[in-house]
Symmetry: C2
Subunit: 607 residues, 2 copies
């Protein structure tokens, strides 16, 4: 391709509305243009990069034995009603009615395709002999992003590779999951991404086990805790800490002053109380009243008080798992009034009328500020063991908690999000916080969708079971965003050769100089014939402007022709990620480019 | 790929709801499955064929110098308001509101992308030096089909290649149009389609010149008139006839009986009147009252009576052009009452109070049945020249008709759809009617969108002009539907090798027989290594069932291994479109397959 015949509107100025490097550089390099909030057109260079990433994804899916199909974006809303995702997606699911021959037809735009594919498979699979298999597609997804931002990192429409595995056993699911996990590692490596697979909660999509593939980047919206010593990494919702149960003291020192009630009128948040009482959040205890629903108890919501240090974040998934609960929600005002005897905002452990579970860190606080279970009051100098106690194992078991131990013992739990400085759950390292961009996610779904959509198979004994599913997503656009976020310098993008819009840019210094242009044209033709992906910058601009644009777009290799070099019989090869150019005799340039490009490509493929 | 590891649910039974061969065979061959009315999932084989067609489209677009981009499906409705297409698309345009942070956002799903791309270009092109260029995308389009039908022929969501050319002059537009026209010919030839480029109206998309690429097929929804002698072909809306103006007789034979008024209470349609009066539609005249709007007359609607033989179809585009009108619509009741003095359904030429234009066929009717311009009455035995006369050239010119001639002359026009048997406009042939499937369309748009969306450039003299545009579409899915409609037999589909899901199917007769399976596996591996696109039918089924499936799917070449042939040291090569198989020595099979496949592929490429 010739630069003059493509459409590459590079910008000299910084776009005013771009907050992050990928957004800023993709606009400046002429890769994308915004159509409206959350919607971008991919210009020729941007679309070339996207298609290269897509091709790598496809190759590795095929290599992993997944089979490609293509499902419609428009789907009947009824499928989302059957799985309940119309509620769990909420405002994110785009759905609307159309009129056909006077009838209303209710449609949704697929945010993912679990419903459609499970419905399809339910009609075609009936026996274990047909299992296992994995299908995938690379298709446009739609989500109503409340806050589209950061360029192509968060948009309402994006290209997703979504794969779905169908298995007759957990072992088959494990194999399919591992095959996808391994394929993802190859994909991101081949794309030149620095990535970390992290343990993750499965979130509203449901299921039991999952990993996210994260690109560590300062502007990533996800928070990861990792311990580079052991390699442990998990997102903040999932990360477990290496903390141990803390012993609950039986009593306080004899000289400890008694707790005291202070007036805190209208002061209900940690922030407000710490300001009023001049204490730090880490000296306070948050008492959160939850309602836990355990199906085997008939679904009756059970109130429970959860105690977390004031500067920490409660983790509802951890709490739910400790309680062995189906679901968990913050208690309503009525329940809070009932168990605390006070309005919302003044709960505390002293005298509370429901089971109490505490985070590992709570007994480590010598004394604490807590709600007084009375309106407009907090207690200070409160000591565990003297003024209050967590529930015993027996009391907890009685309300369905799945813990073992002596009925009279009292213990502590991991109930909060991990925080930097926490001990790692693996080895003796320490967790550190990094931000990341999620580029992929693998889930063990289990039977969530096959049960709601009646996708079953019969086993060797003619017994019917729901098909065991996994689902596996990659945000193809985010591969680009992740690359640009992590591979750029002050001059522009630094593409890996596998995903670069062009491998090589040929830059004649002066297009008005016939010998220069003839050589440039010859190189362009010979490189094309050799299968090198090459752009000829045939614009009649001064060399400086062309170099600036080449660096801004970030072509991996620049071949410069003209000037004093050409008089000396050499041309210049410069890699975008190397500081120095190499001078090559005119006759050797094509061979040198071919060899160096092939080496770089091979290095990324050999993973 | 191994058959057992793909997902190819072939059907023995005829699907009950499939009306046309492409729908029926694509379901039976396991290429597609319906998700809902107008929405199909492409299963592995169907998607492979679709992607091969897509790749051919992309190659030829690139070869023609068009540059690929990718625009969002979701678009701001405001752009459709600016071009007025929100009205011209009507219920076909899918649009809806979403809520973002409490704000309503009004969105549409792109039925095509004239608005988005013109808006984009308006921001980046300002000078003639940047023109001409052509951009394209291969992207999913959405249209609310009132009557989705015929499988993938008419769906609400489809893959379209849409290209847009931007030019500074009509000559540049003509060149871009011709480049696309030629590329389309290559694309459809390479896909193995029998196609006809036909002249077409540009329809609601607007503009001046267009061709449709049609695949003649009995189930096609489009009607084409063509004259194979001269090569003339046009769709029915566009086809002109070779008829000439007919002389309007000055008077009737002296012995002709006078016209007579008959009571026809409540009888307003041609069908009803012909039944009541026991005459044939071709003995009747339809008098249609239109309102023509000519901008240069200040936009005042001008009523005009248009006379067509009762068995013919009026052609509003032809009428509009004869009138030189901006737009044309059937007159409202009030206007009809005013010019005929009667309610709707009884208009006729005798005594009507507006200009009258007549089709060429009208003076050829010796006498006719016409409306009486009086409620519940028709006139019979009406003779042109005696009982009524069409308007003179002068009268017509006075109301802005663009015709030349003596002011006192009366003439006739081509005002109706062409019909089989009409003389061809080229040479001395006759028009015949064929049905067709539209697979592509090229349009000269002119300045329609660049004017509404302010996409302008300045010329050498710093004068500003709207950019001159063309747009060019291919329905990629319809390439498949067109192929299956026209290339099948009683056993199944007959794919051309360029678009077939696999080029070759290797069929071991008995997978339980180790020597058979070893050879099959070897062929499979060697063919794959040689770059042949091969499917191994490794299913443990009897040979007859495998042959039936191979014929149903329609793989171009079948390589059969086993049985008596293998004992004799031969295997069998059978082309799907040849009646006889060829026996080939075991050692020569791979070379024979490679050579024959390469020959077939080359034959389709050499266009």
């Amino acid at each position: 391709m010739r630069w003059s015949q493509s459409f590459i509107p590079t910008l000299k100025e910084e776009p005013s509305d771009a907050e992050v490097p990928s957004h800023r550089l993709m606009l400046r390099a002429g890769l994308i243009r915004q159509l409206m909030a959350g919607a971008y057109t991919y210009l020729p260079l941007g679309y070339r990069a996207l298609r290269k990433a897509e091709a790598i994804v496809r190759e590795e899916m095929d290599r992993a034995g997944a089979v490609e199909i293509h499902m419609p974006a428009i789907q009947p809303i009824e499928l989302f009603e059957r799985t309940g995702r119309i509620h769990s997606f909420g405002n994110v699911l785009i759905h609307f009615d159309v009129a056909r021959r006077g009838q209303k037809v209710r449609l949704a735009l697929g945010p993912t395709h679990e419903e459609v594919i499970t419905d399809l498979i339910s009609r075609h699979v009936s026996s274990y002999r047909q299992l296992p298999f994995t299908l995938y597609q690379i298709q446009t997804k739609f989500r109503n992003e409340e806050r589209p931002r950061f360029g192509i990192l968060r948009t309402s429409e994006f290209l997703m590779k979504d794969a779905y595995s169908f298995s007759a056993s957990v072992e088959q699911l494990d194999q399919a999951y591992q095959a996808m996990y391994d394929a993802y590692c190859r994909i991101f490596s081949r794309c030149g991404l620095e990535y970390v697979p992290v343990e993750a909660e499965s979130g509203p999509i449901g299921g039991d086990a999952s990993h996210e593939f994260m690109v560590p980047a300062p502007n990533g919206e996800d928070r990861i805790l990792r311990d580079t010593k052991s390699g442990y990494a998990a997102n903040i919702e999932r990360a477990v800490t290496g903390r141990r149960p803390s012993p609950v003291p039986a009593e306080a020192p004899a000289d400890a002053p008694p707790m005291k009630s202070l007036d805190t009128p209208g002061t209900t948040s940690i922030e407000q109380v710490s300001k009023l009482l001049k204490c730090k959040p880490h000296q306070m205890i948050k008492t959160l009243i939850y309602l836990a629903i355990n199906e085997f108890r008939g679904g009756r919501p059970q109130p429970v008080a959860v105690l977390i240090r004031g500067d920490h974040e409660a983790n509802e998934n951890k709490i739910r798992r400790v309680l062995g609960a189906e679901s968990l929600e913050l208690a309503d005002e009525e329940t809070i009034q009932k168990v605390t005897g006070a309005p919302v905002g003044f709960a505390g452990p002293v005298g509370i009328r429901c089971p109490v579970i505490v985070d590992h860190d709570i007994p480590l606080m010598e004394k604490a500020v807590v709600g007084a279970n009375a309106a407009d009051a907090h207690l200070v100098g409160v000591r565990i063991g003297r003024d209050w106690l967590p529930s015993t194992v027996g009391e907890l078991q009685a309300v369905s908690f799945k813990i073992e131990g002596n009925a009279d013992d009292r213990t502590t739990f991991d109930l909060r999000n991990a925080a930097p400085g926490d001990p790692s759950p693996k080895g003796d390292g320490t967790l550190e916080l990094v931000h990341g961009i999620e580029v992929g996610h693998v889930f063990k779904l289990g039977a969530k969708y096959s049960v709601s959509l009646a996708a079953t198979f019969v086993d060797e004994k003619e017994q019917s079971h729901p098909i065991i599913m996994g689902c596996y997503g990659i945000g193809v656009n985010r591969i680009l965003a992740g690359l640009v976020e992590t591979r750029h310098d002050a001059d522009g993008i630094i593409w890996p050769i596998s995903v670069a819009p062009y491998e090589v840019v040929v830059v004649p210094l002066n297009v008005q100089d016939p010998p220069v242009m003839e050589l440039a044209e010859r190189y362009y033709r010979e490189l094309q014939d050799a299968g090198v992906d090459v752009l000829l910058d045939d614009r009649d601009l001064r060399a400086g402007a062309k170099f600036k644009d080449a660096d801004l777009v970030g072509f991996p290799l620049r071949l410069v022709i003209g000037g004093k070099g050409l008089q000396d019989g050499v041309v210049e090869l410069k890699w975008r990620d190397q500081p120095e150019a190499e001078k090559v005799p005119v006759a050797d340039a094509v061979a040198a480019v071919r060899r160096q490009v092939a080496e770089r490509q091979a290095a990324l493929k050999a993973v």
